[in-house]
């Protein structure tokens, strides 16, 4: 079981989105509870940004 966070249509800078994504995972306990949520967030985030 895993919580998910996804961000699409990314328009802001890399760094601000990165910290925002991490904060979202932390705030929802997804990262803490699942242990993989943080990675999910970060990976999705970087994939999004690779395309910007």
């Amino acid at each position: 079981m895993c919580g998910i966070v996804g961000i699409f249509n990314v328009k802001k800078s890399d760094e601000s989105m990165r910290s925002q994504a991490i904060n979202m995972a932390k705030k929802s306990d997804i990262g803490v509870r699942i242990g993989q949520g943080y990675i999910v967030v970060r990976t999705l985030f970087w994939l999004m940004n690779d395309l910007q």
């Binding site: 998910i4 929802s28 999705l44």
Partner: protein, 467 residues
């Protein structure tokens, strides 16, 4: 499934499609077989079949899945995203937009709070393909219209097989599991059927011995609650290893704040019923159990609530069952998922299995009407009467079961009154926020009852809680 290789996110072998998913795909074995030699699976995760299906069919594969899920898929090469949620909204999913037009999805509402200007519940049975303007419905059934089922023949044997198959499918697990046994009809049936299959490993089509062959059942309630006695009776009958968890009124009250935090709702009935479940989940987790089967959905499918006795005719009953199922993601599904997930326990709900629902909702609604000597859920009782004690099978739903399913009526009343007073107090002290956000509403009650049942106002609920 496959906790060792099921790490997230999942990728296709060329790394061009990435998937973040929360849930279980019960028919993954059949889908894997179909794509053997055509798709290169990198893990044994049940959810990886979503990638195989996407590669084959684009966005039009959701009907192929039988499971519970919320996922976000990103196709890097084509810059396409696909978001979707299971047919009944058993797995939570929210989405939102910020001031820059960025689009967010998350398993929990609180992840989006403070980031998005607009937050909504992602509708169950829908998908959002980035080529489209917004979510589209993928789950639609003939039985949603009374006209399509009114002439159907009711087959008790098919109903029984349908539910047994659903439980069997959902016993797919690589981790220790159990059943929630409240002592009511629904959880007793699920427990009895689970016990029937527990000794064999489902993943090997029952050829091998199960990794965790002993079935553990769990009941929770205030000391002396009648349901606890009923649950004990069922456990003795089916031969499960039974665990009885007591809690005090004070423990219930102390937990309310945490329950609201995790459930992200202020719905009174949901919070009331979730609190014992939340307390129970902590104990279940401490015993190393990672997954439990639960009986949610039966009352909605079969018209099990006592007010169904007043249904004037079969059409009215059927339409009410469809309506209740449509709203279930806001109430019982929230309870079953989030009360347990708060402690890292996964809840599964065989009554809401996609295939079983098709069987149960195509029953002639005339046979669900409680009349002519038949009590509510007569067809379900009849289908499983040989698996449970007679006193359980033919025990009519009591008020205590109706409102909680876990605690006795007398202590419940006092607990309910105290809890209501507590929430009223919280709401009174939230007055300034309500006036600021809803200047046209005159009273707290008006705001509460107007807002609380609307999915797109969940953000308000969360804000209220944060005070």
């Amino acid at each position: 499934m496959d906790p060792q290789s099921g790490g997230q996110p999942l990728y296709t072998d060329d790394k061009k499609v990435v998937l973040a998913v929360n849930g279980e795909i019960y028919n993954h074995g059949d889908i894997r077989k179909k794509y053997e030699g055509k798709y290169n699976f990198l893990t044994k995760s049940d959810c990886e079949v979503i990638l195989a299906l996407y590669r084959d069919k684009g966005a039009s594969f959701l009907e192929d899945l039988n499971g519970i899920f919320g996922f976000a898929l990103y196709d890097i090469e084509n810059d396409i995203f696909l978001i979707s949620r299971d047919h009944m909204g058993i797995i939570p999913l929210y989405h939102g937009w910020d001031e820059y037009g960025q689009y967010y999805v998350a398993s929990e509402l609180k992840a989006l709070e403070g980031v998005c200007n607009k937050i909504e519940v992602f509708p169950p049975g829908h998908y959002y393909y980035s080529k489209d303007k917004g979510p589209k419905k993928w789950y639609s059934r003939d039985w949603m219209e009374f006209e399509n089922v009114k002439e159907n023949k009711t087959e008790i044997a098919a109903l029984r097989k349908g539910l047994e198959d659903a439980v069997h499918r959902q016993l797919m697990s690589d981790v220790p599991y159990g059943v929630l046994l409240s002592g009511g009809l629904d959880s007793s049936i699920i427990s009895a059927v689970a016990k029937k299959f527990a000794s064999r490993r489902v993943e090997t089509e029952d050829k091998n011995e199960a990794w965790y062959p002993q079935l553990h059942s769990f009941a929770v309630g205030l000391p002396g609650a009648p349901d606890l006695i009923a649950a004990r009776k069922v456990a003795e009958h089916i031969g499960s290893i039974h665990h009885e968890i007591n809690f005090t009124i004070q423990e219930g009250l102390d937990a309310i704040r945490d329950v609201i935090y995790h459930l992200e709702t202020y719905d009174i009935t949901t919070i009331r019923a979730s609190t014992p479940m939340f307390l129970m989940a902590r104990v279940i987790k401490s015993m190393g159990i990672k997954m439990v089967l639960s009986g949610e959905g039966s009352d909605e499918i079969f018209g099990g609530y006592l007010y169904f006795h007043k249904a004037p005719h079969a059409k009215a009953l059927h339409e009410e069952t469809v309506r209740k199922l449509d709203k279930l993601h806001l109430y019982d599904n929230l309870r079953a998922n989030k009360s347990l997930a708060a402690w890292g326990v996964e809840g599964r709900v065989p009554f809401l299995d996609k295939e079983f629902m098709d069987v149960a909702m195509r029953i002639n609604p005339e046979d669900k009407l409680p009349r002519n000597g038949r009590i509510e859920k007569w067809v379900l009782r009849k289908a499983f009467e040989d698996m449970l004690p007679e006193s359980i099978v033919w025990r009519q739903k009591s008020n205590s079961v109706m409102v909680s399913g876990t605690v006795g009526l007398t202590p419940l009343k006092s607990w309910f009154r105290i809890r209501s007073q507590m929430i009223s107090w919280q709401m009174r002290h939230s007055n300034f926020l309500i006036k600021r956000l809803h200047p046209k509403k005159n009273t707290i009650t008006e705001v509460y009852f107007n807002r609380i049942s609307r999915p797109n106002q969940l953000r308000f609920v969360f804000l209220l809680f944060r005070l």
